[in-house]
Symmetry: C3
Subunit: 321 residues, 3 copies
């Protein structure tokens, strides 16, 4: 999540009650998780296992629960609960302050765009030209749509991420990590009816130009989808995954989190993808593997009874010998 304008570190430190050491006069440009963070951004870490990775990351400023060594020019913001500090920052810079009108006055749409009845357009939403937003669609705050985008009826863009912090000593074990990110949809994207696309937690969920989705598709938070992909109905993609250009996922395919499906890959219907797949090939089954190989496996399974008969016959013969 990027701040609307750079924010003095001292202001952040004061907001979260942190001790600020190092480059104390710098400004922060945003806050992100370690895999998305850029130079000028804040990052947060509360487990010694990840201290090093955070301090050596592109992040300039580290919200941390212990004083550690850090490179020249960076800064630490030391506080007992970096996770809560993250929540406080999101709550401050992206407050939940929902528009109570169906179309917020702080949203904007380009020429030729049609927003049909029953559609909800939240605060600071930007929609390009020649789009069609069908009835009963919901587009939550800060989302961005390019030109020639079509969203079929009942679809939800920018729902909160399914991303929780677990502590079993609370009566309610799971506490939602607030979503500071957006959904950004490029030109020429068309999304079917009844789909759900979650906003990013600290970054953006992104749908590349020309990608088309059928109905009841789910896209998780912070997932990045390339250009000219095709997702058939009831596909589900978990969070922080990367789908490269021209990927085709057929109906009811499930894709796990934080993996990559390479360019031009095709995944056949009902397959499950638990780990990254190289591009340019056709995959099938669970776990998704080369489709030709997987289909041969079906043939082999059908041969087990024959194999059994052969082995039993050999066994009987040997016993008779």
């Amino acid at each position: 999540m990027k701040f609307d304008k750079p924010v003095p570190l001292s202001e952040i430190a004061s907001l979260i009650g942190a001790e600020l050491i190092g480059n104390t006069t710098a400004n922060a440009t945003g806050i992100n998780e370690i895999h998305k963070v850029e130079n000028g951004d804040l990052v947060f870490v509360d487990h010694p296992k990840y201290y090093d990775a955070c301090i050596q990351s592109a992040a300039s400023f580290i919200i941390i629960n212990k004083q550690v060594d850090f490179p020249e020019g960076k800064a630490l913001l030391i506080t007992s609960d970096p996770f809560e500090a993250y929540q406080t920052i999101i709550r401050h810079f992206r407050p939940f302050n929902p528009s109570m009108k169906m179309i917020s006055e702080t949203s904007a749409a380009g020429e030729g765009t049609v927003i049909m009845p029953g559609a909800y357009i939240g605060n600071h939403v930007t929609i390009g030209a020649n789009c069609v937003i069908h009835p009963n669609v919901t587009i939550m705050d800060h989302c961005v749509l390019g030109d020639e985008v079509v969203i079929q009826a009942g679809t939800v863009i920018g729902s909160d991420a399914f991303y929780y912090n677990k502590k079993t000593n609370r009566e309610i074990h799971y506490k939602r990590m607030l979503s500071g990110g957006r959904v950004v949809i490029a030109n020429g994207v068309e999304i079917g009816a009844g789909c759900t696309i979650d906003r990013g937690v600290s970054g953006d969920t992104f749908i590349g130009a020309g990608t088309k989705m059928d109905n009841l598709v789910h896209i998780g938070h912070d997932t990045v989808v390339g250009k000219n992909c095709l997702f058939a109905a009831q596909v589900g993609i978990a969070g922080a995954t990367t789908i490269e250009d021209n990927v085709i996922l057929w109906g009811q395919v499930g894709v796990s989190k934080t993996l990559t499906i390479g360019k031009d890959a095709v995944v056949l219907a009902q397959s499950g993808v638990p780990s990254s797949l190289p591009g340019g090939k056709t995959y099938f089954g669970y776990p998704a593997e080369d489709a030709g190989q997987k289909k041969r496996e079906f043939v082999w399974i059908k041969r087990i009874p024959q194999l059994w008969d052969l082995v039993m016959k050999q066994k009987r013969e040997r016993e008779r010998e």
Copy 2:
């Protein structure tokens, strides 16, 4: 389904045109199916196979299509079509009398609760404090939400059960069994976008405190979900099933009806659960079984060609001998 206040049996008998015998001066507290019924309730039965179970159940009053023996203190309501009698009772005590406003005046919400535009809140809905009901959500009549409940956009709470009575001698074979039950959602539950939770037929569908669901999840009628469960996107659970506390179901898992998944169980993505699973273990595949064992099965399948080669080699050798 419980009546708002106890109802004289004689009033029920007259409503459904039944002959009343036994404890004719009693009051009924509600009507339920056999597995949910409590002392003071009505139950209904039209098949001799189930007569005994109904008469011996906790139910005090039995709507039945034949005179049979019954315990002291109970009553029979004898009528030719007990199923139709059930429908008549539901129609009378839970009439379909929908509110034509987006938010019914007979509903109530606690302090700090935000109901966003496009949300429909039916008659006699109760919502606790500090909830967020996102745009275009639908909450049907009589549903109950606790405190700190979040419902993401487009979700439907309290749709009618998918529960039909079949008679092939009708042109329309299936006749809906009317849903007299509710959806009851405890404190701290968060439900994703585009989900559907059906009301109970004669009892309630219940979601326990702190349970979190991702998008496009389906929960069937009369299903009871425990505390602090996690259901990932596109999970589907059929009717009258019990999911105990802390159960985790990953993406696209399907769970059949009237079974139990025990406490702390984890079911991996895309698995299918056709029968009950003990708690405390991780399951995978269809039918879902111990995940480690199931994954070893994948390894065994890949060894079939090798096995085939070995057996063929032995066969050739023996033929040569």
Copy 3:
């Protein structure tokens, strides 16, 4: 797609800029794809491979990109891009001219029908008597519902087909083929919450009398569903498929496009149907096959380790000999 009244071929030729030869004074009754086309209709073809089939089809008038021989009484409309000609015809006779009211004045509903708040009813929609359209449902232009139809909340009827023409020389590879068809729903159909039913591209998507669907079901464009079918939650059916009468599809079943499932067939939960299935039997698995046989396959897979041990023992014995 049928025109509201017959249209002179000369008018069509002029609209799409085509050279008209043959029966130039005829009127066209509609336009359809080759598998749906009827006498009096237009059809369109741009690939020599399909020329013959189109010219010999029931279609009376062929939009084509080359002059070819054709039967007496028919006509050719010759144009360089028949696909674009189709789009032009749909755009002209079924213009996207959306109603900006929740209930269009050009729609009509029969006696006893209840349309609940938040429901969108498009232009020229016809709804029969005694229907219930629940909150936040969307019914798009030209759809037709019979009597006693129930649509649960959040469902979308008549979303555009997921049907694209691909050209990789465009920056946006896929261009939507415009949907000129409708969704037609017969008497006594009940559709769950959060479902999506796409309109036909050139024909109609049809749901037969008495069919019942649970929640989050997807039905693709031009698919024809018979009478008294039952589809459990999260079933997905692709485009142009035929499901005959009394078919039961259990939860999360996926069905591929342009195939037929025969009368009285039952497909068990989570199965995948990649090709046609004869009626009257129970199917399971992927690819769906006879359920009994498929379940025996599970038993055989579990015997592989035993088979392995036997073969290894025989191998060791032979080596010792």
